[in-house]
Amino acid sequence: MRHLLTAALCLLTLPATAGTRAVVQDHALPRVAGFAQAAQALDAAAAQDCRADTLRPAYQATFDAWMGLSHLGLGPLEEDGRALTIAFWPDSRGLVGRTVQRLRAEEDAAVDRPERFAEVSIAGRGLFALERLLYEPDNDGNGEYTCRLAQAIAGDLSRLAQEIETAWRTDFADQLLNAGAEGNSRFLTAREASQALYTALVTGLEFTADQRLGRPMGRFDAPRPQVAEARRSGRPLRNVILSLEALRDLALALADQPIPETEAAFATALQTARALDDPLLAGVADPSGRLRVEVLKNRIEETRAAAAREIGTALGVSVGFNATDGD
């Protein structure tokens, strides 16, 4: 009887898996802190000198740091639209260009007040709005306003990055690690926490394959290299590689046992990506280049399948029952 009782209580208070702890401590927390530092450095750099060519290195470093956590689309990133505000992509309706253009044309004074700029359309904020300013310099003699806009975007990014870091450190990490605790309506069991992190892994792999590669690939008879992610700042392939590296780190942290098949699949995908030697993924425009990008896409899909077999099965989780079906 006592054994039964103990077993029942254990079920109620089952601690987080080693994998969940590893993801929180070794993966998520260092990465959100790194992004906050990078965004703060960008903000400081913009305050000092907002010219495009001097700001570009800090911009690139901030984008690199963002790629280290953009796949963690649960918790602080999904609240208050933060992830979309930081990275408004894909932008199938061309909202970033239009919003930046409008801000400049109207010389919207929201840029001078952080709390008002936080109310500006998310398409006119974040990394992709700033990319327009730094890599598509205007020649309309509007440099002074552009400078204030760049400073406003950098300050807004830094604020968002700080909010994410604080929310992870002071709240969301505890929620992941204390599933089922009183007041934790986010995760009712340790398995739900595992499932949320596993979903982030699978969703991240799918996003890189289907969006970062699939969007510019377009249809065979209608490739669309011009819609590649962060094309203006020269980052399409870099983002693919950085996202794969971040997702490999997540997979290794999340798994509670060796994952040789997944590791091998990541290695092959990364090797394929690095060998592409096509920073803008511009090769999708011709059949042989497109084929090489398609091979990379297949490698990423194989990585997802391997992760499902090795990690999903071992954790006893899969991606959403309803999210993947629907009607």
Partner: protein, 357 residues
């Protein structure tokens, strides 16, 4: 010689057992289908606080159920394109009738009782033409097929009974053919609508969206105590387009489309899975399992709140506010102010939570 049990079961089916009520089946407040960890599927009766009342095995994955208004009887629909539906006696916990879609038809996964529960209406596809149909079945005659009429569009999905035996029909606009599974055959030309039909099939009113939203499939419905109809949509364009997914309608008026801010709207992934009015009728909610979100609006269409919960989909009016179910086995209660768990079990709740009565 038939066994006593079979004899009784036959009698039950033949007479429709008017004296039995949902109270005899343990007074469930909701029906919901779920998948067990073993992979088996079942229909559950749930109490007002989300607790299990009964569990009845299903042969395959369910989609939605229609609850008889008074008798403890449920019609469980398979996922589309299903060729059959099961009438389940929730008292003895087993199938008492199997409704086969007529030749050349299949079910779309939803149904509703009319005429105080005497008639079951089902949403169907006329496969050859793609015309949406409403099939009618007489409960008193052992659920014999007694008629059908056109739904007023293509791809009717959820249907709801309104006072006066009026049917509200979500004609999703998407043509499918069972030979091609769930492939959508007419996305370029689709044109969904919300139709109100009389019990005889006369079109009383039809509501359409503006042309730029014709790819927004109207699929699920909720009816407020005062007759306001809310409809939930599924966008067939890019998931990040951020189009409205909730519409509100009163008979004779233009529909009101409701949306949250851009980031929240985009986070719904162009997909609303279920819709319900709150118990008090003052709030309307839509769920997106793909976005892991419940969005709550007021009945004027003003956005009130977002709540996060992975794979949330089923939604119905609660004892107060809303009751919601998710693919992780959770049953949650909430309103605009909060969303908190009531129960959880090792099972995956399927798309819909159906309130009884």
């Amino acid at each position: 010689m038939p066994s006593r049990r079979a004899f009784l079961a036959g009698l039950v089916a033949a007479t429709g057992t008017p004296r039995l009520s949902w109270a005899d089946a343990g007074d469930p407040a909701y029906l919901a289908a779920a998948r067990a960890p073993s992979g088996g599927h079942a229909l559950f009766g749930l109490g007002a606080e989300g607790q299990d009342i009964f569990r009845i095995p299903l042969p395959d994955r369910g989609h939605a159920a229609a609850a008889h208004p008074t008798a403890p009887e449920a019609v469980a629909f398979a996922r589309r394109p299903g060729r059959f539906a099961l009438v389940i006696d929730c008292l003895v916990g087993r199938e008492i009738r199997r409704l086969d879609a007529p030749e050349g038809r299949h079910f779309y996964g939803h149904g509703a009782f009319l005429a105080g529960g005497d008639i079951l209406a089902t949403s169907e596809n006329e496969i050859e033409t793609g015309a949406g149909m409403i099939g009618l079945w007489s409960r008193a005659d052992g659920y014999a097929r007694i008629g059908e009429y056109r739904s007023g569009g293509i791809g009717p999905h959820e249907i709801k009974a309104l006072p006066g035996n009026v049917l509200a029909i979500a004609n999703g606009g998407i043509r499918t053919h069972p030979d091609q599974g769930r492939d959508k055959l007419n996305l370029a030309t689709m044109r969904p609508n919300l139709s109100y039909l009389s019990a005889r099939g006369e079109m009383l009113e039809q509501v359409e969206l503006p042309p730029e939203l014709w790819r927004n499939s109207i699929r699920h419905l909720a009816v407020a105590p005062d007759g306001q109809v809310a409809f939930a949509m599924q966008w067939q364009g890019a998931p990040e387009d951020g189009v409205p997914l909730l519409g509100l309608h009163r008979r004779g008026a233009a529909p009101v489309l409701a949306e949250a801010g851009l980031a929240e709207q985009m986070a719904m992934q162009g997909y609303a899975g279920s819709i319900a009015f709150s118990a008090e009728g003052a709030q309307v909610g839509i769920t997106s399992p793909r976005g892991g979100r419940l969005h709550v609006f007021d009945t004027q269409g003003q956005f009130l709140a977002v709540h996060h919960r992975a794979d949330i989909c089923g939604l119905a009016a609660g004892a107060r506010g809303f009751l919601a179910t998710d693919g992780l086995g959770g049953v949650l209660q909430g309103d605009a102010a909060r969303l908190s768990p009531l129960t959880r079990a090792d099972r995956a709740w399927d798309n819909h939570l159906v309130r009884i009565g």
